[in-house]
């Protein structure tokens, strides 16, 4: 099953507020993406 475009194009933020497409995570190697319930 392929990842949906909606998920691949989703934007996440780093600690500086910088935006990243989620698909960047698996561009060059497999990614284990853990979606956590919340921080802390």
């Amino acid at each position: 099953m392929k990842v949906s475009d909606g998920l691949a194009l989703s934007i996440v933020l780093d600690a500086t507020g910088g935006e990243h497409r989620l698909a960047e995570l698996w561009e060059v190697r497999p990614a284990v993406v853990a979606l956590i319930r919340h921080f802390g």
């Binding site: 989703s10 995570l25 993406v33 853990a34 956590i36 919340h38 802390g40």
Partner: protein, 132 residues
């Protein structure tokens, strides 16, 4: 998942964590936990929605969730405050270059984490070798 990090990297993959609090919450997490893997946040919850993760209160009412909380308390874990959406549940995806989803775990209740062996097996593929 962080305990499986050496095996994840040995399989040629990387662990990435996405939370759902504010950027300030993410900064707190980085200072408190000092994770050695990339960590991001999605305050909009779009990633969770697109990944099909649950967002409801039933996850807290499940008997297995109660057991999980008691087990965590006995182990000394406390939760000083929720830094993110209190109803959002999580999960784990293994995604290969090209976008193939090799594994998907949707948490059904509080403390429902995937067995690391399942995640690692998905990374290694059917032949037990890491994906090229």
């Amino acid at each position: 998942m962080r305990h499986a990090l050496p095996e994840i990297r040995a399989a040629g993959a990387e662990l990435a964590v996405v939370g759902n609090g504010t950027v300030a919450h993410l900064r707190w997490f980085l200072e408190d936990q000092a994770p050695d893997f990339p960590t991001y946040t999605d305050p909009t919850l779009v990633v969770y929605r697109e990944a099909g993760m649950r967002r409801d209160a039933r996850a807290y009412l499940d008997l297995r969730a109660v057991k999980s909380v008691l087990r965590a308390k006995r182990a000394g874990f406390t939760q000083p405050g929720v830094k993110g959406d209190p109803w959002q549940q999580g999960g784990v995806l293994v995604i290969l270059p090209g976008g193939e989803v090799a594994y998907r775990h949707v948490s059904e209740y509080l403390g429902d984490h995937p067995p690391p062996a399942e995640v690692l097996a998905a990374l290694r593929g059917p032949g037990g070798e890491a994906h090229p």
